[in-house]
């Protein structure tokens, strides 16, 4: 079977998550570069996976801001043959706390499957067991042939109820605050079931499942974890890749393959090729980048959300990779994000809040100012200084402080702030 690709679903969900479901079908399909027909088909498929939720509602940030990761269902979209989806649950149920051989499992399976179902042979059962063992879900018991297998739930079985609650809360915190998080969210879902089994019904409280909430969180970040491990693998193996790239500045973010005559008219994006060196997660916007090496010593940067249909190409020699990687690390030492341009020193004066308020300005500069330093302090203000590659990436952060920040150097940045504040003043003065 061809490897299932989720590129379409990812692009689709990202657009939904970013727009809060505000586009109509036509606009949506247009932006994705697919037909309305494909759009409807994708909606139907995702609805099925997500349990028929209303999409628009799903992507509005609820007032009760739940910690449930709405986009996780993408990772539940892998399809399965009908016969397999009936057989595997029976195997897993039989293997819970009860070591069994393949032959015993086959009997159990045949007994429980409806009479009209296709009965599995021992070879099928063995291949199921191999798969389950490979992904660590079942484990082979010690002893000779015939081998006996058991469901491997040691992780939850060895814990007391109190410990299980502690673990659930820990996983909840880490999945929500750390990168990467998809596996954490999947584990969290399984721990929910472990909790339900451990807590007696009369003591059950739904509050156990949502112990905390998280504010100002970038939901769509988990969509890019779909490509994360592929890319990390190619970095580890020093392998070049090729992929289709949709620059986020283009209107269309996904073009259907022209294997289907219906979509033949859609333009194909250019295929890019690079040697992956590093993946960068940007906390400012909740976005991911891939940085790769291009010919002539250049570095190229791609937004991971624009990369689809990634294919591994040939390996490069280790010394070549090491050289490129060391060069990149050096060039990125002063990147606010990923800029590898010329290093400049930025100096800005920050004004402390007046009226005897607590100094949240300095607190915020220390929290978010990366490796920059406070070099001068007075009761009213302080000067922050940082060596940084280019002024483009730090600019929004400085501007976010509004009139509590005055850029001192470089002159070019100072002037651009004056010009921009003038423009902004015009927006609002004109509207009086």
């Amino acid at each position: 079977m061809a490897k299932e690709s989720f590129d379409k679903e990812i692009q689709f969900l990202r657009l939904l998550a970013l727009t809060g479901g505000g586009y109509d079908r036509q606009q949506f399909a247009g932006r994705l570069g697919i037909s309305v027909h494909t759009f409807d088909k994708t909606v139907r498929r995702l609805r099925e996976v997500s349990g028929d939720a209303d999409f628009a509602d799903l992507f509005r940030y609820g007032y009760a801001d739940s910690a449930e990761p709405v986009l996780l269902f993408l990772y539940r979209a892998k399809s399965m043959k009908e016969s397999e989806s009936r057989r595997l649950p029976l195997l897993l149920t039989s293997l819970k706390g009860n070591p069994q051989t393949a032959a015993e499992l086959m009997d159990a399976c045949c007994e429980q499957l409806p009479p009209d179902a296709v009965m599995p042979d021992e070879k099928t059962i063995r291949s199921d067991l191999r798969y389950l063992e490979e992904i660590g879900v079942v484990r082979r018991e010690p002893g000779g042939r015939p081998y006996r297998y058991i469901l491997n739930n040691d992780l939850t079985d060895c814990l007391s109820r109190k410990e299980l609650i502690d673990l659930y809360e820990f996983v909840d915190i880490m999945a929500n605050t750390q990168i990467p998080s998809v596996q954490g969210y999947l584990l969290r879902d399984n721990l929910k079931k472990a909790l339900k089994a451990a807590v007696p019904e009369e003591e059950w409280d739904d509050g156990l499942l949502e112990p905390f909430s998280y504010k100002y969180h970038y939901d769509a970040r988990i969509l890019d974890e779909a490509h994360l491990y592929t890319l990390l693998r190619t970095i580890r193996l020093r392998t070049r890749i090729s992929f289709q790239y949709f620059s986020p500045k283009k209107r269309k973010s996904y073009a259907a393959k022209d294997t289907n005559p219906l979509f033949g008219r859609e333009g194909e994006a250019r295929r890019e090729s690079t040697l992956p060196l590093k993946v960068v997660y940007d906390h400012q916007y909740g976005r991911w980048y891939l940085i790769g090496a291009a010919p002539k010593g250049r570095f190229v940067k791609f937004r991971m959300e624009g990369m689809v249909d990634i294919a591994e190409e040939q390996q490069v020699p280790e010394p070549y990779f090491t050289l490129k990687k060391a060069d990149l690390d050096e060039r990125m030492r002063f990147s606010w994000l990923i800029d590898t341009g010329e290093t400049v020193t930025v100096r800005a004066r920050f004004y402390r809040p007046a009226n005897g308020q607590a100094d949240f300005i300095e607190e915020r500069v220390r929290l978010q100012g990366q490796w920059g330093e406070i070099v001068e302090e007075t009761p009213e203000s302080f000067v922050y200084e940082i060596k940084v590659n280019g002024i483009t990436e730090i600019r929004p952060w400085l501007r976010g402080f509004g009139s509590s920040c005055e850029v001192l150097e470089p002159a070019e940045l100072r002037q651009s702030f004056i010009d921009e504040w003038k423009e902004i003043a015009d927006y609002y003065d004109a509207s009086v």
């Binding site: 399809s79 989806s85 970038y218 960068v280």
Partner: protein, 317 residues
């Protein structure tokens, strides 16, 4: 090998297993946990004995190799992932009990202990810090306090009926809390940067509308009082790319910011050049405004502070 699209995660399988009480734990989930156990937060959140058991159960699972390949940038320093009071407060919440809470003010003054019930523990990804939402039963008000400002939290046994009564009062206050609406327009020449702009607003309750005729994107935002300051920070962050077209409070604040910022640089807005008395007045009054107060309030009043002369949040309601 981490591969998040594994058929074991398929909804077809999980829906069949739903009512059986059977669940599956894969080695990639254990590997992820193994990685998280290395984080200093683990020792704060879990008993040493639990950590030991979990380490034992993940012995056979590989450690995801992220070093060298993955880097995080432009984040807030991770000051606090787990706070020591978290466990205590969670257990009061779970048991539905009352508490006496003693807090320091932002300036360090110690307040008298106050009675109340905890409502919700919340982590801010911006501040990288925990907050407690609670109901003060003496002043009958909703509070929002940084955990680092709480000196002590002592459980107070409380009859279930009393707890329910206080909880209902708190819910009523929450439901009554004002919600604000504003519309932000993407300035057309910056349409190419749409995804970046949408990403910046993606942590808010929003709806995006596209006007085909004018080729203009409008973002409708809904937020509560304590989120207002962060919306403002994002607007300043994006600068000239966006413009508030509806919502008087935000418009006023943006106007103030631009004028004050220009005064800092000794420049004036185009509209105010000339011997405009108001312009001179602003230069004289120029000083830092209170814009960076993201989620700062820890008093009962969760409304952002209003600078002089602004219309106040109420006008945006």
């Amino acid at each position: 090998m981490m591969h998040p699209f594994e058929k074991i995660f398929s909804y077809q399988l999980s829906s069949r297993l739903e009512d059986t009480g059977v669940y599956t734990l894969t080695s990639q989930e254990r590997s992820w946990l193994k990685l998280m156990l290395e984080h200093p937060a683990a020792a704060e959140a879990l008993e040493p004995r639990t950590i030991e058991k979990l380490r034992e159960c993940t012995l056979d699972d590989g450690m995801p190799d992220l070093t060298g390949g993955l880097e995080q940038k432009a984040g807030s320093r991770e000051v606090q992932t787990v706070h020591p009071l978290l466990g205590e407060l969670r257990s009061v919440l779970r048991r539905r009990q009352g508490m006496r809470l003693q807090c320091r003010t932002k300036k360090g003054k110690l307040n008298d202990p106050q009675p109340g019930i905890p409502c919700k523990l919340e982590y801010s990804m911006v501040k990288r810090e925990w907050y407690l939402h609670w109901y003060n039963s003496a002043t009958r008000s909703l509070m929002h306090t940084r955990l680092c400002h709480i000196v002590s939290a002592e459980e107070v046994r409380m009859a279930r009926s009393r707890y329910e009564e206080l909880s209902a009062q708190a819910q009523k206050r929450i439901a009554e809390g004002p919600r604000y609406e504003a519309t932000v327009e993407v300035i057309r020449v910056f349409n190419a940067e749409l995804t970046r702009i949408l990403h910046a607003f993606s942590c808010f309750d929003k709806r995006v509308e596209f006007d085909e005729e004018e080729r203009t994107y409008r973002i409708h935002l809904t937020f509560n009082g304590s989120e207002g300051e962060y919306v403002l920070t994002k607007l300043r962050f994006l600068g000239k790319r966006v413009k508030v077209v509806e919502g008087e409070y935000l418009k006023n604040r943006m106007r103030m910011t631009a004028r004050k910022a220009l005064a800092l640089y000794g420049a004036e807005a185009e509209a105010e050049t000339g011997a405009d008395a108001a312009g001179a007045g602003y230069a004289a009054a120029a000083g830092p405004d209170v814009e960076a107060r993201t989620e700062a309030p820890s008093s009962a009043d969760t409304r952002p502070a209003e600078p002089e002369g602004s219309g106040g949040l109420a006008s945006g309601a």
